[in-house]
Subunit: 305 residues, 2 copies
């Protein structure tokens, strides 16, 4: 099996496993699959879930796409080559209960080829980040600890570096650099080196992908039956507004996809189901809402590193 | 009075008149004013209304701002000069009732100065556009007719030209070029010429600004007491999602403001109060919802020109 085939097999298998476990966890809603094809080459499997016991809306998507390197790609992605290939999984889950955090993860591989279809470049990227509406420190620690453990098995420098990249990426710069959540890990443009070859990066991507369920399911189980008020839901919808702002104003992947004729419905499955935009909404200083806001404004180290 | 002073006086007076009439129309909610100052020069008056009988959320903002021409301005606005000045009014109203359309308008003047504070360039821009959730042809005709009448008093070529600019501006290119509504007029970069001097453009801006209330209030009065169902509200919230997408992904003014340290809360007052994002939502073919969607996909001539 080529590197490419190995990665595709892993990504598709991960999608199946994640969807299966999320359905069990929800115990009401089932994923609906839309298979789509891209005129320029390849396609994907978009799987969405909605109106469940746990998940108000969510998607677990994979795509395997390829084509000629376009001018937009050359200028926006700063790449060069004749043809390209990309395969990845991307998921976003928006739970009903404001005490259960929203989560996003994405793992992908990119390859470039010359005129003779020889691979000339290959890189890996991905990450998982958590967007709670209320802060439970033990949940934040559990989530970060899970990824730190994975990272540490590969390279002790990864967790602190990738945690920082994540904190610096999911930022609403137009809102005093408020983060959309409490982060996680994020890495990009990782290429094979002498010490960390292509198999190393595939293994790392797999280990991160496999860590998604153990990082998130225990938090759902702990919080999904918490009772909540209309005020808690209101706050969740206000914060979801910030999620929308980040995704539509700043997220490179979303904007690149929308501006290069990507499949709009698959890209925008990330948007929350119900959202509020209120003029100048400020939580009460010292309230639980404010505590969450403060850790979004000032990213924290959740684990002694 | 200088040109600048005349325009400021007009804009601030227009804000007062519009807010007064909208309060009477709503008969419950009042505007709340936030005065703000800009570190780099100038400031504004943001007036917001919410939870009224008619208006769920809205803002009628003015700003009088000036400063040094920055590098961002040079590259993004393609302008050159030492200092600049801008003054305008911007409003967005989101009614509760899905049968009352959302409306947006904006009228502004921009000036550039050289090192000796001599005015070297000056231009005007603006427009008003309507975003209904259900199509009432007579309302669309009334709205367009009002602006056509204003345009025709100045130049017979204006209405067809500015209607087209509007149709081509408020477009969600990532959604099959769906327009956010049924348009109106929009013009930009209008400079004095031999035949149409600066007073001509000031008069035109004033006439358009003055036409806002007669273009919109009669539509509110006709529709505000229509009874509506949860399904009508649902559709309104789905369409509001498209409004959010346009404003955050495509609107030049919004993005420029957010990326150049504009006042975020004043800029984002344009976002609707409650919004839904549903995966692949499609109205029933032939339904009232679909009729609206079709005129957004295919802009129509509302008046024989």
């Amino acid at each position: 099996m080529s590197i490419k085939e190995k990665w595709i097999k892993y990504i598709e298998d991960l999608q199946d496993r994640i969807c299966g476990e999320l359905e069990s966890c929800d115990s009401k809603a089932k994923f609906i699959e839309d298979k789509w094809e891209r005129e320029e080459g390849g396609g994907g499997k978009t799987r969405v879930i909605s109106n469940g016991n746990v998940f108000e809306k969510g998607g677990v998507n994979t795509s395997v796409v390829f084509g000629n390197v376009s001018d937009t790609m050359k200028s926006q992605l700063k790449i060069d080559g004749a043809t390209w290939f990309a395969c990845g999984l991307s998921l976003v889950l928006h739970p009903i209960n404001p005490f259960v955090p929203t989560v996003h993860c994405n793992y992908r591989m990119f390859e470039l080829y010359d005129e003779n279809e020889e691979s000339t470049d290959r890189w890996f990227g991905g990450g998982t980040d958590l967007t709670p509406y209320y802060l439970f420190e033990e949940d934040a620690i559990h989530f970060h600890q899970t990824y730190k453990r994975v990272c540490d098995e590969f390279d002790a420098s990864f967790y602190p570096a990738f945690k920082k990249v994540c904190d610096n990426y999911f930022v609403n710069t137009h809102r005093n650099n408020e983060r959309r959540g409490i982060g996680g890990i994020f890495y990009d443009n990782q290429r094979a080196t002498k010490d960390q070859d292509v198999n190393f990066w595939i293994k790392f991507g797999k280990a991160c992908g496999n860590a998604f369920l153990p990082s998130y399911l225990p938090i759902i189980e702990k919080r999904k039956n918490c009772s909540f008020t209309a005020e808690n839901k209101y706050w969740q919808e206000v914060r979801r507004g910030r999620y929308v702002e980040f995704n539509l104003i700043h997220d490179r992947g979303t904007l690149f996809g929308l501006k290069t004729n990507g499949r709009t419905e698959s890209i925008l499955m990330s948007l929350p189901p119900t959202v509020r935009f209120e003029y100048n909404y400020q939580p009460q200083p010292g309230s639980e809402e404010d505590k969450l806001l403060q850790v979004c404004l000032q990213p924290k180290e959740w684990i002694n590193v």
